[in-house]
Symmetry: D2
Subunit: 254 residues, 4 copies
């Protein structure tokens, strides 16, 4: 039986590509995303066409019980979850305080912080009982510095980073590898960056920085680092690392 | 008319003592706390007996509209709020993940993170219109490192720190001084530390570290730093500082 | 006998103004700087004219034994050093790696890092024996992020920050207050910023940001925070704080 | 012609094992260390016996010109240096300030900070001209927090970390990947940890934490992460990551 890699937030960017990488590496990948059944099935088909094994679910992570039930069902019906990719973000673009509704602020927390807490509450006891597991969390610059207009996103990601450290402090010695992957740059991802910017701006951005210029982060290449981190020997685990294009300044330089 | 200092979380520790300091420094202090009418009135009386001016309110910050209405009422009935002391915490002691309920996790966020967001949403537009104001936020070690058992607290405080940076990025240049005061040690405060530890343990702690040993942070002395920060010249504002007893190791050393 | 405040790097900016503030607060201030005898005597005269007490010395901190001998002489001839202001910097402007000579790199370390180590080696045993003392270190953004062109400065200041933490870990519990004051903005200081930029550019900068705009840090106002920190009650000491003009973005935002 | 990987500090721990990994991955590895000709030749023989290619040099990095001349000679005689592993440390164990001589403090800087600056000065122009290269720097917890007794080490490593950020700010966009690898735990390395602790203590430590317990970091496993980082796609480079055994608390938790 293949080990299971559960991806929360499996769009055409980081989530989907990390899913593909783990499938290629011998995992059964369970892909979860909120919408776009066609996109989801495409990912599953791509994986299967490449000789891998995958299942897809539409799942609204905000909904009560949704994450918890999916974890239970996967464990019961597919197999033990060895790796979780927590890839749900809350980036809604820059908004002034006046333009950030209570609802938007709460939504950021529900998706990015509380969702991870619920996931950990569901999956850590199982991983702890087995003495192994990994939870890789896709994070963002906003986890380490609050910038103008990032009220919701920074609060959510900053809370999430501290949650990751707390989980790590409790569970690393139980064999659960928690990794906080700080994505400090723009990802060449139509489902997230593309949607946020709109098709036209996204194409301009790709023309200016993408392609051979390698100025947009390629999710299929990022996936190599996710896979590496999940397979580090337990005598030398990484808890936090950053990723950015060679051509971009690090967050602390701008 | 005296400028107003609004204290959210005015117990017998930091909140009450900072309130007293601002009252002594010429402010009308508005003290808000969730419970203990008698304790609240004692604080008001103490301030008045010392020649100062204060008003007290019982207020459940979790309740919808509670913070927002208090801000409106104070501005309408007492005067412009020049300084906010946001002193609501969410420390519930160390609990394993299994022992941290969804409700406890959410409560931490509601008090420490969302409450500050609501406060800022209510008060920043008024301060911005006047071109001045200060929001001093009492923070904790958990804002910068997640430790075992701190799932709720660290997520809440880490989110709050990033929110403070975001508020600062938008509002400092409008004349609003946001300060994040990292309290990295135990405060000699019966209403918070005392309640968390229980009377007996608290007295043992006081015997071992308090009094002339100065190993517990004296809230009336901490208040001097709050007052100083709120009155720094605007050409040289502090956004973040730490406070701890001389006799304690800094958080990064243990 | 007045307590002594020893200022290393007493120009017309932070050093000189902090010296004045401590003199006004009852200290005998010992001012040390490398050159400009006239400027030094002007500071001494200003302090005396204001009713304070001061002595000035020209001192090349790079020179072997210079700091050590000054500390000994002050203790022997004037009195116990209660506060050290270590204000020697190593900012030489932005230079590419190719334009940063080995000598320039080493000079940064000698002034900013090794000089503080020598000062601490000389003064800490005396402070420890007396059970009290304070060393306030003027630091810079380069201590927490390396930016392009800052090879020498960032290496020196980053090393210094870690040295401050190490000193604090050993000496805080002995009553020695080490504070690392992160100056994250341009100081209205003719002797340092003025010299680095040249008179013309400095005047343009003053016209654009100084005066009533308060966009340049006023050293006489910064001095208030130095004085406050040095006098915090030992139950609540600050080890690190930042200072910047309200109108400037924090380093992490640009 | 094979690309060259130049290892500064090639003992039986991280340096030697990283060298082996790069040799196995197709590099000609140049191993440099200060002493122990026999140990050096053993490493070279091991690599050759495994089908790899290596050269070894005894080199005192402190000595004027030593690093610079080795870089020139390797480029002239062997080939273009694609990867530098800068693995020279300065850990001398915990010493009080009184027990840290000026010489020890300076030695830390010369090995850990100035040595890297000299290496970068020698190799970056060549890498920049070729539009590619990587410098992987082995770092330590002392780079991010100064602990008691770490006066020399923390100052050296803290300066080095800021230097790495400065190098990165100038050279990443030129195709040079600078990575700062924070080793936050004890490495199962007889030449460094073993020598520092002494043979007996080291064996006790191994018995208590090593072997199947995986509580000591295995340098041959750490080498996998070094190799991975050096081969990340340039659209998603890591500048900083930490490594520690699963069974150890992160530095911020103790």
């Amino acid at each position: 039986m293949k080990p299971v890699c559960l991806v929360m937030g499996a769009g055409a960017g980081i989530g989907g590509n990390v899913g593909k990488r783990f499938a290629a590496g011998g995992y059964h990948t369970v892909l979860c995303r909120r919408s776009d059944e066609a996109g989801l099935q495409q990912l599953v088909s791509d994986i299967q066409a490449a000789g891998g094994s995958a299942t897809g679910y539409l799942l609204n992570a905000i909904e009560e019980g949704s994450i918890e039930e999916r974890v239970s069902a996967v464990e019961a019906e597919i197999g033990p979850i060895e790796v979780v990719i927590y890839n749900l973000g809350a980036q809604i673009g820059d908004r002034t305080l006046a333009d950030t509704s209570y609802k938007a602020f709460e939504m950021g927390w529900r998706l990015a912080t509380f969702g991870l807490f619920r996931m950990a509450s569901a999956v850590c006891p199982k991983m702890e009982a087995r003495g192994k597991g990994a939870i890789l969390v896709t994070s963002a610059t906003a986890a380490v510095r609050g910038n103008a207009g990032q009220h919701s996103h920074a609060a959510a990601m900053g809370g999430r980073r501290m949650l990751c450290q707390t989980l790590n402090a409790q569970f690393a010695s139980k064999g659960i590898h928690i990794a906080h992957i700080l994505v400090d740059g723009m990802v060449d991802a139509p489902d997230t960056l593309g949607r946020m910017l709109g098709a036209d701006v996204f194409q301009q951005l790709r023309a200016a920085h993408g392609g051979e210029q390698d100025g947009l982060m390629l999710p299929e290449e990022m996936a190599e680092t996710y896979f590496h981190v999940a397979h580090q020997h337990r005598s030398c685990w990484t808890h936090e690392l950053d990723l950015r294009p060679y051509s971009e300044l690090a967050w602390w330089n701008h």
